[in-house]
Amino acid sequence: MSFAISPDPSAPSIVEVGQLVREFGSTRAVAGVSFSLAPGDCLALFGPNGAGKTTLLRVLAGLLKPTSGSARVSGVPLPGGPLARSRIGLISHHTMLYEALSPRENVAFSARLYGIRDARARVEDSLRRMSMLDRADAPIRSLSRGMQQRVSIARAMVHSPQLVLADEPYSGLDDSGARALTALLRELRSAGTAIIIVTHNLTEGLSLATHAAVMQRGKFVRYDSADRIDAGAYAATYREALAASG
C-alpha cells in the first residue's frame, strides 16, 4: 500500500520513501511502504509490537540498509552517509547515553560530532528546553529514567535536525516531561522540521500528527491526513491490529 502524504505536492519533500522493504532472513519487517513528508509534517505511526515501526525508523536513521525500495532524506538517498545523517535527529526508548558522563557532557559530545558552531550555547539551550540545566553535571546513572529520557531528547535536538525520528519518545517521561516534549515537537514542526513519531498513545500521537498511519505486518493498513483523521476509527483499527497480532 502506498500513500503520498505531502499536503502540497509542489513542496520539497524532506522524506521520500518508495516501496521500502526490509527483510531479516525470511521475515519481512517492512513490506513495501511508501510515503513522503514535507517540512512541518508529522506522521504518527501506530501498530502492535513487531509491526515494523522501529525497523522503518532504523532504516530512515541509516542504521539498517533497505533490502529493496528507496528512501531519501532531503533528497539524499539512504543509507546516504554523513550528509543525510546530519539532518536526522533520533529519539528512542533507549536513551543512547553514556551513563558515566553527565547530561552536559553527553549533549556536548553529540554537538561536537555534528560539527556544530557555537556548540556550548546550543548545548545549554537544549538542556534548558528539557528542564535539565539544574542536573546538567550529575552523572547520567544518578538520574531517574524520565530525566535520562529528557537528556536523550536534548541530545537528539542539539543539531536542529530537519527530520526527527521519535520511537516511543514518551517512554519514562512524567507529565511535565511529556508536556515539554510535546511543546518541543510542536515548535519543531512550526519551524519546518518533519517528524515521524512511533507511539502506542493514540491521543498523544494524534494531537501532534498532520498525518497518521497504522502499521501491521510491515505494511500501512490505514493512513489519513490531518483533515480526515478520525480518532475513533484509529482506535478501532489499532485494536484490530493488536488483536490480529495476537
Binding site: 533520533l90 543512547m96 553529540s110 555534528y114
Partner: protein
C-alpha cells in the same frame, strides 16, 4: 528551538582531517569514561602485577635466566591485560544502545573505529608504562640502555594488537559470549605480533646490538600498517546488518 537562519553544521576540513578530528572526539569520550570508572584500567594493572608476581614465584633463577624469561612474561601480560580494555571498548556503547546515536551521527564508520583504537592504544600504553618498570624491578633487569628501543617495540606491538583487538571487540560485543569470543577471535591474529615483539625484546634484553632487532621492528611496522589499514576498512562491515 529557534529556526535555522544559517548553516549549523560546519564541515570545512579535508576528509582525512575530519575523520581524525572525529576519531579524537570519540577517543577523548572513551578515555573520560574510563577515567571516571577506572574499572578496566585497574583490572588490567592488577592483572599485570599479579601475573608478574606469579611468574616470579614460579621462576627458578638457577634453571632460566631473567633475560630469557622476561620477554615471554612481558608479552603474555601485555597481551592478556590488553584484552581487558579491548573488551570494554565497545561494551560502553551497548549499555543503552549508545552505539545507535554514534552510528546515526554524521561521523564516518572509519572515524568511529579509529577513535576506539586510539583510546585502546592509550589504555594499553598506560598499562605498559606501569608493567614495564615493575618487570625490571621484579627480575632485576637493567633496562637503562635499552629503554628507548624497548619502548618503541612495545608501542609498535601495541598498535598492531589494538587494531586487531578493536575490530574483534566490535564483532564480539553483540554476542552472548562476547568475553569468550573476543580472545578466541583475536589471539590467533595476535600471535605474529607477539612473536615479533617477544623476539625483539629478548635480543635487546640479552644485550645484542639494536641493529639486530631491526628485522623484527620492520616486521612489526609492516603488521601495523597492514592491520590498521585492513581493520579500519573492515570495521564498517561489522556494523552493517
Amino acid at each position: 528551538m529557534p529556526a535555522r537562519t544559517r548553516p549549523l553544521i560546519e564541515r570545512r576540513w579535508p576528509l582525512v582531517a575530519d575523520i581524525l578530528f572525529s576519531a579524537w572526539l570519540i577517543a577523548r569520550k572513551d578515555l573520560s569514561i574510563e577515567f571516571r570508572t577506572r574499572s578496566a584500567f585497574l583490572s588490567a594493572v592488577v592483572f599485570s602485577l599479579l601475573g608478574l608476581v606469579i611468574f616470579y614465584y614460579a621462576w627458578d633463577p638457577t634453571a632460566v635466566t631473567a633475560t630469557d624469561l622476561a620477554p615471554g612474561v612481558l608479552w603474555i601480560i601485555f597481551t592478556f591485560s590488553g584484552l581487558l580494555g579491548l573488551h570494554r571498548s565497545f561494551g560502553v556503547e551497548t549499555a543503552d544502545r549508545a552505539i545507535d546515536a554514534l552510528l546515526a551521527s554524521p561521523v564516518s564508520r572509519e572515524a568511529i573505529f579509529l577513535g576506539k583504537a586510539i583510546a585502546n592504544l592509550i589504555f594499553v600504553v598506560a598499562v605498559q608504562a606501569i608493567a614495564l618498570p615493575a618487570l625490571a624491578l621484579f627480575y632485576n633487569l637493567p633496562l637503562g640502555d635499552v629503554a628507548g628501543p624497548l619502548i618503541a617495540i612495545a608501542l609498535l606491538a601495541a598498535i598492531g594488537l589494538v587494531a586487531v583487538g578493536t575490530l574483534f571487540s566490535a564483532m564480539a560485543v553483540n554476542t552472548r559470549l562476547a568475553e569468550l569470543l573476543l580472545p578466541m577471535l583475536a589471539l590467533p591474529f595476535f600471535v605474529p605480533i607477539v612473536i615479533a615483539a617477544a623476539q625483539a625484546t629478548a635480543k635487546l634484553l640479552s644485550g645484542r646490538p639494536v641493529v639486530e632487532v631491526s628485522a623484527w621492528v620492520k616486521l612489526l611496522l609492516a603488521f601495523d600498517i597492514v592491520f590498521v589499514a585492513a581493520c579500519t576498512l573492515a570495521y564498517p562491515f561489522t556494523v552493517e546488518d
